[in-house]
Amino acid sequence: MKLLIIIPAYNEEANIGKVVENIKMNYPQYDYIVVNDGSRDMTSGICHENGYDILSLPINLGLAVAFQTGIRYAWLNDYDCVVQLDADGQHLPNYIGPMLEELQKGNDIVIGSRFLMKAKPKSLRMLGSIMISRAIRLTTGVKLTDPTSGMRMFNHNMIREFAENINYGPEPDTISFLLKQGVKISETAVEMHERLGGKSYFNAVKSIEYMFHMLLSILVVQNFRVRY
């Protein structure tokens, strides 16, 4: 199995070095690609200086486009599967192995879930996750414990589908749509860290906007979409 780790990075100069060094040192069996999403800090500079594998988008195009860039790279280079790993150090590469095993059981997508074994903490931040979980269960009948987890693995068929279409952002609404279309999606228990350094671009307003958008998309829009 040829696996590619896709690392979308936007203004992650504080973390990108540690994340990539960890993969290069401890997981040399996996290929990786950093997708720099038009960062305005030293993200691209650090990668070029150290000779990391990097695709650099000239302007900021958002996570969906950055991820799709990595997916297209994977498709052109004939990878069997890809996994998305955040550049802030939240996701731990030691769970890629177990996720890969789960994928090889015949799943199309494997989500690294923080809450498969543990209960969800009852915080305001988790309220969004709970609501999205409910919405997906309501429209697809499938229970996902951690739909907002960014650590997702995709097989060869999914790489092709994500590479060629629009409205295939790496977000819960796409997952919900694919579930509805009969794509096999499974979860594997993982742990995550807090981000190492730097700042997340998610603030209160953005989070509410994101939630509203996701719920509308899952509950209404996805029901009308067709798959090609």
Binding site: P58, I59, N165, I166, N167, D173, F212, H213, L216, S217, V220, V221, F224, R225, V226, Y228
Partner: protein
């Protein structure tokens, strides 16, 4: 509000939603752009199902007839949409300029480094001849 106006409002909101969803089906519209239109359609439907809202609104604002209040709401929403579109367009324009500038700079830089490379090569060739 007359029944006819209410029917027209419902038809408008339904056809707006239908057109937008069709565009998404045809993969011609990004899902982000549907949020406003769903919101618009919902408001039109609410106004046509509960015409008392329009009566209340027109009384509160001192507007002569309830349908005028409905027109005012639609007008407001259109102005907001145009305003948001202007922001989007100027953002897009800025990004195109940024992209073009970057392209020009990168091209110049790669040409420079290419020239240097060939210069170095010719130097080494001369050295080899010596």
């Amino acid at each position: 509000m007359t029944v006819l106006l209410r029917i027209i409002l419902v038809l408008c909101s339904l056809s707006t939603s239908a057109i937008m969803l069709r565009k998404i089906r045809q993969s011609k519209l990004q899902i982000e752009y549907i949020v406003f239109w769903v919101f618009f359609a919902v408001i039109l439907i609410i106004l046509s199902i509960f015409p008392d809202l329009a009566v209340w609104g027109s009384n509160a604002l001192g507007i002569y007839s309830p349908p005028n209040f409905v027109f005012l709401i639609i007008l407001f929403m259109m102005i907001i949409k145009i305003f948001l579109s202007s922001i989007e367009i100027s953002n897009l324009e800025y990004r195109i300029k940024e992209l073009a500038q970057k392209l020009a700079i990168d091209e110049a830089q790669s040409k420079n480094s290419h020239n240097k490379d060939t210069e170095n090569e010719s130097h080494t060739e001369k050295n080899a001849e010596k």
